[in-house]
Symmetry: C2
Subunit: 218 residues, 2 copies
Amino acid sequence: MNEAFHKLDPEKQRRIWDAVLREFAQHGYANASTNRIVQEAGIGKGMLFYYFNSKEELFRRALEYSLDYLQREYVSKLDYTEPDFITRFVQITELKMRAHLQNPLPFALLANVQINQDARQLFPDLQQRMAELASSELSKLWANVDTSLFREDIPPRQVMNLIRWSMEGYQNEVMNQLKDKDLTGLDWQAYVEEFYAFLDVLRKVFYKEGDHGSTKSQ
Amino acid sequence: MNEAFHKLDPEKQRRIWDAVLREFAQHGYANASTNRIVQEAGIGKGMLFYYFNSKEELFRRALEYSLDYLQREYVSKLDYTEPDFITRFVQITELKMRAHLQNPLPFALLANVQINQDARQLFPDLQQRMAELASSELSKLWANVDTSLFREDIPPRQVMNLIRWSMEGYQNEVMNQLKDKDLTGLDWQAYVEEFYAFLDVLRKVFYKEGDHGSTKSQ
DNA sequence: GCATAATCGACCACTCTGGTCAAGATGCTC
DNA sequence: GAGCATCTTGACCAGAGTGGTCGATTATGC
């Protein structure tokens, strides 16, 4: 990559990355068009191949950029000291949503690469970095959980899976509901309260009986 | 569509549909190639446009074929008399897997159309038929459920959602595990037993206490 | 033998591709 | 201002691929 790119006005860098990531995320490696990228980025065609030398390198850099973004804005901020599994999972989800809200494109690109096998054989090293990121995130999720909070007639592993699946299902449901709606002027408070009520249900179902505290008080 | 197509050797028809569905499912409408289709189907280019007159009609027919397949092999076989929600859900899942195993391509094509908005504005009528199919399937899922089996300290609606999400999560997990493996000579029995054990956990968690019968005996 | 239907694939005009490069703009130093 | 290096552009390239056509050839049924 030409180092001139790094000297660019940051706003312009962002515009270029935006266009690049969006194009690759939407169309995959093979069907992405460098013409559309320069058009959307508002730069001349020559510049794209001046900064990056080929489409292949461009894609490689885009993937690296996305992985770096996730590492920096999400994975590195994860905190695995919280022993309460549900609370921890909520924290993680919040972080992920925050990073996603700030810039959804890296997520979109990585999701596309995961599904579309376009790039798999072309960039096996990055494919591996992706796999590592995903597996390390998940394996750490299970570590140092205080399983003594769980009800004892079900294996802790299964309890954690059930909680995870339930929360993921809940998330997807809310996402789908909100997809088409106008987000301005939305009654967030109602959603948040419903969510905490949902957490209380999970605690009631999967935790030991007794007062383990409502989540609302947080 | 040229009626000559219907007079074709059924095996040849199947080969053509296979190639068509696979291509559209993999690449979406815009990026699908009629050249690749005829090559994979093993017919001359002329024939494709003899049977179907244009790429647009071809896609339309492919979508209709897929919707018909799902209707015939899956939705029409659904039975909503079983009052036990878990049992019903298992039955539904089994039907879906059976149809999917017999021919996954219609599922793949519809999934692609759902995600890729390629075709949305081109074929709004079929888009609507898809939406109807999905919503009718889901709304019927909730009807006539014997909620008296559920524990009473949680709204029945929420119990059903939690069960649904848990089972979907379980499915995805198993699917992911099996994705790369060699399916021949697999120990299915072990999987089935683990699944029934999982169902027992769900019953223990979400149903009223007392002997509601193990699922293993089925 | 003959009409009709089925089948092929070379061919068409066209669009789009990743990539190049001569020409010019811009900024910096003296 | 001149001179030089660095940026920036977009017209242009050869090549690949597009959906679709059609004259030629073969198979079928009577």
